[in-house]
């Protein structure tokens, strides 16, 4: 059935006209204008069909391609509920404590980004060391564990707890020993946790050991005075300091604190009062402290014992055997003269010794007693609690393990598989322990050998406390939620011991409220705000040494003579790397050693003449074989001031499992340490053989003498007393200077700086502080070797050599000197001088570096095209060029090339792209913040409102920053000092940074110069 109706579309169809019929045969009834389009006119129409299709196709393709590129996703997640105390852009500060230093943690939007010394900590405010400054980077270390590990696999805490609880139950049932191995614990709460754990598992013993041990001092004091403590040393009360190889300004016990004390008798304020302490240093390797000594005499390690005996005999008139230094007449002569001075300065003198040998330290106690140090410069009644390691107990623990007596071991804050002297004995013993738990935050040398890694938290995520000195307590409080699935070690122990309070915060608080707050008379909230409190110190008792030295002296002589063969090796803690626990911290790896200026490696240091006699040149790679057979291959560094016949190697290097920055940097020197007479000894004898290879160490400074140039100006104390301007080159009549340039108007502030060369010890914590504050990239060993380190502030270290009465500082004369043992060292912090007539400013083609109206030399990164002309024309060579995109280039992935670690960046300071010049900005962001807060408070800026990062970190207060327009500001006062000079002032750069002359208190010992 034909049901579909036919509709016609037009009359043509209805009528079936012939045209229609004809056309309807074609596919397209109406003619298409193909000819028109294809002829010339058609093709030149604006958009022919084909072109349109092409354009359409291209457009689609292009859009598709463009859409395929992952657009950068900026993860900025707003607060759902804004915390009351967090204002974006405004930092919050929390008090805490790090390694005995009272600190402020600066957090921005909930993340800690900077460590600053706690200004409210009163007498405990003594700056921060490089480790504290760098510690903020440890929090953002990608090498950390993200969850606990059970049998090498990441797991949950529940599984870990179940496993450990079961194993502990077995251990308890077996009645075998349980050991907690830790470095010294001086946190009262941690100690209480350990005590609780011990109560739950009575076979537990807490063994404390320190990789760099102070057991010798503790045992000696126990022996001499019945007090097993490290005393409180008062370097500020000592007018005469004699140190036998104690690097007390650097690594010895509490360097930052001692630096503050030491400098208080030597800085500009003290000098203005006509007072300056004297400091003798007798040591084998050139230490940071040695570089600051007024008189430094190189003595072999084997001569230190005899030297002390000589000193004792001279002071007391005693006649102990062994007190002679036949091969070192200079030292012997110096000791004899010094002894007289020590007796004269009775009660105001201090002798310290870096040895860990009990007998040696007893001898030192006897000397100190003879010169009346106890009760004045040494305080045994308010002792230092930072170190309580016991080498013998740890040695016994190794034996117990090897005998299979141990059922469970917990490693807290310790890494014996790396730093124990005999790794094999440790690992063999450990394999016999059924339950091995490490509280490490990463898979390190020890924790990889353990069944459980109960990932610990960074101190910035933790609760805790510290009792550095008798009666002084400080708090550790978290500044960020734990980043990973980690748990504080103390909490783990509480859970495993099934304590009634398992939350560690509550535990700490309870402990404080019960035991500490009543003593201090403070409340918990006050503690959280102020950070550190001390009860009134006990009166320092005067102790007298009255034991016989009959057994002591021969022991000293014996251990000394054991070293007096082959080449004597001293292994020491380096200022940057310390005992090696921070090896994965790129800031510390790139912090130049204060003395050798070497980064990213350890080395064997030999005296120049001694190396020459061995036929060894600098950077030769040698095999160093210890008398126990341990061999390492290390490059040689020629170190002026190193005692002849001795060598030094830094500890803390050669980590194999610490993370990407620190793995296999340098060589491990711990196996050179030996155990004798109940303590660890950090000296041994070695033989050296050349391998024929060379390895250029990455040094930030490769020329070491100042060539007699007046960039360094110094005077002796005697000259200074006669004329405070001695050595500055100032004349009575100022000569007229002429100027091509206009003077800058500085109507408001004039930011200037004063640096006291007599206060600066060269420790380098300012460098790390600056790195962290200003997002300065770490560039790595190869780039440092190419002389491209980025540090905005550096410490120039120059050697000069004494010959007769004159000082030799020119390379070509030094090359001809016979005796290079008498070295003087000066440290000069060098940073952008913010010259009023800055050579860099005139040469920049694009005005990227300009002068501000408050005396600063600005650098506009965005404008910089990178001609490097400014750096060439900078006479101070303080400008740093971004040769690569260091912070975001996989070839320089030391630490920062991941989103997590980038959280450490200071949001107030931009990261610089490649091809841009940068340099010290005088912490312009801090100046701005200071100005703003004064403005908000509607008051003028006060002196001290604004502090530079370097200034803040400096324990010695060597750096003073402030407004030069304010005549009453600290810096104005400092710059009015007679000692002030400006580096390269003769080229009329008009620097904004004044330096104060280096003063050496060497006069009263003219005859020492043998």
């Amino acid at each position: 059935m034909e049901s579909n109706k036919k509709y016609w579309k037009g009359l043509e169809e209805f009528n079936k006209t012939s045209d229609f019929v004809e056309n309807n045969k074609n596919e397209f009834a109406e003619p298409l204008p193909i000819e028109d389009v294809l002829n010339e006119a058609g093709l030149s129409t604006v958009t022919p069909r084909r072109d349109f299709l092409k354009a359409l196709g291209f457009g689609l393709g292009a859009v598709t391609l463009a859409a395929c590129q992952p657009a950068p996703i900026h993860k900025s997640i707003p607060y759902l509920i804004k915390p009351e105390e967090v204002i974006p852009g405004i930092p919050n500060y929390y008090v805490s404590s790090y390694n005995g230093q009272s600190i402020l943690v600066k957090t921005r939007e909930g993340r800690p980004i900077k460590i600053e010394p706690n200004p409210n900590s009163g007498e405990f405010n003594c700056g921060t060391d490089a480790q504290a400054q760098a510690s903020v980077l440890d929090l953002y270390d990608v090498s950390k564990l993200k969850a606990p590990v059970l049998k090498n696999d990441e797991t949950t805490w529940a599984k870990v707890d179940a496993f450990v609880a079961a194993e502990l139950a077995k251990a308890k049932a077996s009645g075998k020993k349980i050991r907690i191995i830790s470095s010294s614990v001086y946190s009262p709460s941690t100690k209480a946790v350990v005590a609780d754990f011990t109560a739950a598992y009575p076979t537990t013993k807490h063994v404390q050991y320190d990789a760099v041990s102070y057991t010798g001092i503790i045992k000696a004091n126990e022996n001499s005075f019945g007090k097993a403590v490290i005393p409180k040393y008062n370097f500020d009360k000592a007018d005469l300091i004699v140190s036998f190889a104690a690097d007390f300004l650097g690594t010895w016990i509490s360097g930052e604190e001692y630096t503050a004390q030491y400098v208080s008798n030597r800085n500009n304020k003290s000098l203005a009062k006509g007072k300056m302490s004297r400091h003798f240093q007798f040591e084998a390797g050139m230490s940071l402290t040695g570089t600051n000594a007024d008189t430094r005499i190189p003595v072999k390690i084997s001569e230190q014992g005899p030297a002390l005996i000589t000193l004792y005999n001279e002071i007391t008139g005693g006649s102990l055997a062994g007190g002679s230094l036949p091969k070192n007449p200079t030292a012997e002569k110096a000791i004899k003269l010094m002894a007289k001075e020590l007796v004269q300065q009775k009660g105001k003198a201090l002798v310290v010794c870096g040895s860990n040998d009990v007998s040696t330290q007893i001898l030192v106690n006897a000397i100190n007693s003879a010169i009346g140090s106890y009760g004045t410069t040494i305080d045994l009644d308010n002792p230092n609690k930072r170190y309580s390691g016991n080498d013998a107990e740890f040695a016994e623990f190794l034996n117990e393990m090897n005998r299979g007596e141990i059922a469970a071991v917990f490693f807290l804050d310790s890494n014996p598989a790396y730093d124990v002297i005999n790794v094999k004995s440790f690992t063999d013993g450990l394999s016999k322990v059924p339950l091995k738990v490490s509280f490490s935050d990463r898979k390190d040398e020890t924790s990889t050998l353990c069944d459980v890694i109960a990932a610990n938290q960074n101190y910035l995520e933790s609760w805790g406390d510290a009792n550095s000195y008798e009666g002084s307590y400080s708090i550790v409080q978290p500044t960020i939620n734990p980043v990973f699935n980690s748990r504080q070690a103390e909490q783990s122990l509480l859970i495993w011991s099934n304590a009634p309070v398992k939350d560690y915060y509550q535990y700490v608080r309870n402990n404080w409220e019960k035991n500490i707050l009543p003593v201090l008379g403070k409340t918990w909230n006050e503690v959280l705000q102020t950070g550190v409190f001390a009860s009134a110190p006990k009166t320092a008792g005067s102790y007298t040494f009255n034991l016989s030295l009959a057994a002591v002296a021969p022991s000293v002589v014996k251990s000394s003579s054991a070293l007096a063969k082959d080449i004597e090796l001293q292994v020491y803690e380096s200022v940057a790397m310390r005992d090696g626990r921070h090896a994965n911290n790129a800031f510390l790896q790139e912090l130049p050693d204060p003395v050798s200026k070497v980064t990213w490696d350890n080395y064997i240091a030999l005296a120049p003449k001694f190396a020459e006699s061995l036929g060894i040149k600098e950077f030769d790679v040698v095999d160093v074989k210890g008398n126990n057979g341990y061999t390492v291959t290390l490059p040689v560094l020629v170190q002026p001031g190193q005692a002849q016949g001795t060598a030094s190697i830094a500890l803390g290097y050669g980590r194999t499992k610490v993370g990407k920055a620190g793995d296999n940097v340098g060589k491990n020197a711990y196996p050179f340490v030996s155990f004798s007479n109940g303590t660890l000894q950090y000296a041994t004898t070695i033989t050296i053989t050349k391998t024929g290879a060379t390895n250029e160490l990455a040094q930030t400074q490769t020329h070491h003498s100042f060539e007699g140039r007046n960039i360094i100006r110094e005077a002796t104390f005697k000259e200074y007393v006669k004329n405070p301007a001695a050595g500055t080159g100032k004349h009575d009549s100022e000569h007229k200077t002429y100027d091509l340039w206009d003077k800058y108007e500085k109507p408001g502030n004039n930011w200037v700086m004063a640096i006291d060369l007599n206060a600066c010890t060269g420790c380098g914590s300012c460098i790390v502080a600056c790195n962290v504050e200003n997002n300065i990239p770490v560039v790595g060993r190869d780039e440092v070797r190419r002389r491209r380190e980025m540090h905005w502030i550096r410490i120039d270290r120059y050697y000069s050599f004494e010959e007769g009465d004159k000082s030799v500082s020119e390379e070509k004369e030094i090359a001809h000197m016979e005796n290079l043992d008498r070295v003087s060292v000066v440290h000069q912090p060098m940073l952008c001088q913010h010259c009023d007539h800055a050579p860099c400013e005139t040469v920049c083609p694009v005005l990227a570096t300009t002068h501000s109206s408050d005396g600063l030399n600005h650098m506009a990164y965005n404008r910089c095209v990178g001609t490097r002309y400014c750096a060439n024309n900078c006479p101070y060579k303080v400008r740093r060029f971004n040769w690569f995109n260091y912070w975001n280039d996989s070839r320089f992935d030391n630490y920062l090339n991941n989103e997590f670690t980038q959280l450490v960046l200071n949001p107030d300071v931009t990261t610089r792209s490649r091809g841009v010049m940068e340099k010290c900005s005088m912490c312009i962001q801090r100046i701005q913040a200071g100005k703003l807060s004064a403005k908000i408070a509607k008051r003028p800026l006060k002196d001290g409102d604004i502090k530079m990062a370097c200034q803040e970190a400096c324990s010695a207060n060597a750096i003073i920053f402030g407004d030069g327009n304010d005549p009453e500001s600290e810096v104005s006062k400092a710059l009015r000092s007679e000692r002030v000079y400006y580096v390269l002032e003769e080229i009329n750069t008009q620097p904004g940074v004044g330096y104060m002359t280096k003063i050496r208190n060497t006069d009263s010992l003219p005859t020492v110069q043998a």
Binding site: H703, T842, R863, K877, F881, R914
Partner: protein
């Protein structure tokens, strides 16, 4: 004979027999109108490889950053600015020849000015690549131009010698290019007239419709003179300004008032050496011995010995002043130059620039092509070392010994420099293929045909003194190797 006012006979500037205008055109256009010979191909392929190396090295630098070079915190310029100053210096001979010698009516320049000026332009191109590639952020290189911008009223720093440099180099390049191209117009027209097809169309466009009528020639002459007048100060100013990059700084060894004249002399010195290096080969390969004659070679050698001696005196003066000034930094900089870790560079410079050019006092050596060619290369090696010594040895040990450092080049440094030579020769060889390497129109001016014919007529008519005629005929044969009768045939 008294009373005759004829100028002293000179050696002819174009040698050879049967020289006619047509022959000149044929000779000079031979390489342009024919397929290249094997020597050209070998040269071109080697140069192109060099240019490719340059491209690779510069791209590598752009991709990775200036860190690819061996520079460091102390030595911020080394091979880059050494190369830059070297190339700019080389360019100077071209301008001196084309402009200064034109103003002084030194017609002998007509044979060499075209190539020398082409060399100038290519050398300045090479120098300009360094200006851009040495920047940390080369994509922003235009910021050194005082362009209106959206950054507010942000101008360049008119105090900065780098800005002066930018003006000097860009002016120099534009004026040189203009001068060179103006001179090329009649020659391009000549090629156009002889060519057919596409070549004719192309050369037709580039000849700017040159018609060759009197008015055109007159304007041509005027423009040439004006441009010569503009270029002449540039010969002095460009390298003076380049020297100010150093002279206005505070770095010992840079901060020296002697630099401007010393740099200009050095530039001309190296420029002439480069002209010799190029033309000694080109005249042989392209068969242009009749146009670039021993006279040219000797003249240029004389200029080299003069400027080389000026440079030598400057070196000695610097040393004297370093001592006489009593400035310890300055004194150290110079002692360090000659005896420090880069002593070899200093003595290389002294040998190549001061000692070896003294050999040119001997006429035999001045007239020996191999000796001249070797010396010309030695001079350019010496001049490279001069810039290296000034830049690197001054920077590497300046004021604070703590920052003293050594500079070690990387493969990229070396490749950029070697590659820039490749770029230069590639451009130069292409130039030889497409444009006349000798200014045809200007060389034709040197042909004395008409005056010689007039002379012939005078002799025939017996107006001249016989002694004089004899002397004239003899000298024609002696110097021009032309028999007088030959003029009759023309």
């Amino acid at each position: 004979m008294s009373g005759h006012n004829e100028s002293i006979l000179r050696e002819p500037l174009i040698t050879g027999n049967d020289i006619t205008y047509a022959k000149i055109t044929d000779d000079i256009l031979m390489p342009v109108e024919n397929k290249p010979n094997r020597a050209w191909w070998i040269g071109f392929i080697v140069s192109l490889m060099g240019a490719t190396l340059w491209l690779v090295a510069v791209s590598y630098t752009f991709w990775n950053g200036i860190g690819a070079w061996g520079l460091n915190k102390t030595v911020g310029w080394a091979w880059d600015i050494t190369g830059f100053v070297w190339w700019v210096g080389i360019g100077h001979a071209g301008t001196l020849i084309s402009a200064v010698l034109l103003l002084f009516r030194q017609n002998w320049r007509n044979s060499i000015n075209r190539s020398a000026e082409a060399m100038t332009i290519f050398a300045v191109i090479c120098a300009a690549t360094y200006v851009v590639s040495h920047m940390g952020r080369p994509w922003l290189a235009y910021w050194v131009l005082p362009l209106p911008n959206q950054f507010g009223s942000l101008w360049v720093n008119f105090n900065s010698p780098l800005v002066w440099d930018m003006f000097a180099i860009s002016t120099y390049f534009s004026v040189s290019l203009l001068f060179w191209y103006t001179g090329l117009l009649p020659d391009i027209a000549t090629i156009r007239d002889r060519a057919t097809g596409l070549r004719r169309r192309i050369y037709s466009i580039f000849s700017f419709g040159w018609s060759g009528n009197v008015k055109t020639w007159q304007r041509f002459e005027t423009v040439s003179l004006i441009l010569a007048g503009i270029s002449t100060p540039l010969v002095l100013s460009v390298h003076t300004i380049v020297s100010m990059d150093f002279a206005t700084s505070v770095i010992p060894g840079w901060h020296t008032t002697i630099f401007p004249p010393y740099f200009v002399a050095g530039a001309i010195f190296s420029g002439f050496a480069m002209v010799l290096t190029l033309l000694l080969v080109a005249r042989k390969v392209l068969g242009l011995e009749n146009y670039i004659t021993m006279f040219h070679i000797e003249s240029m050698n004389k200029i080299i010995i003069l400027t080389g001696s000026i440079v030598g005196v400057a070196y000695i003066t610097e040393f004297f002043i370093a001592w006489y000034s009593g400035s310890e930094y300055e004194a150290y900089a110079f002692i360090n130059r000659s005896t420090g870790p880069y002593w070899w560079a200093y003595w290389m410079m002294m040998t190549c620039n001061v000692i070896s050019p003294q050999l040119l006092w001997f006429k035999k050596i001045r007239l020996s092509i191999p000796a001249t060619w070797i010396l010309s290369i030695v001079v350019n090696i010496g001049m490279w070392f001069e810039r290296f010594v000034i830049i690197v040895t001054s920077l590497h040990r300046d004021y604070l010994p703590s920052s003293w450092a050594m500079f070690y080049p990387t493969w990229v440094d070396v490749s950029v420099f070697v590659g820039s030579i490749g770029v230069f020769f590639t451009l130069f060889l292409l130039f030889l293929r497409v444009l006349p390497s000798i200014a045809i129109a200007e060389v034709k001016l040197l042909l004395k045909t008409s005056s010689e014919q007039a002379k012939l007529a005078q002799i025939k008519e017996g107006h001249l003194d016989k002694v004089h005629v004899k002397e004239y005929v003899e000298s024609l044969e002696k110097f021009d190797s032309v028999k007088q009768e030959e003029y009759a045939k023309i």
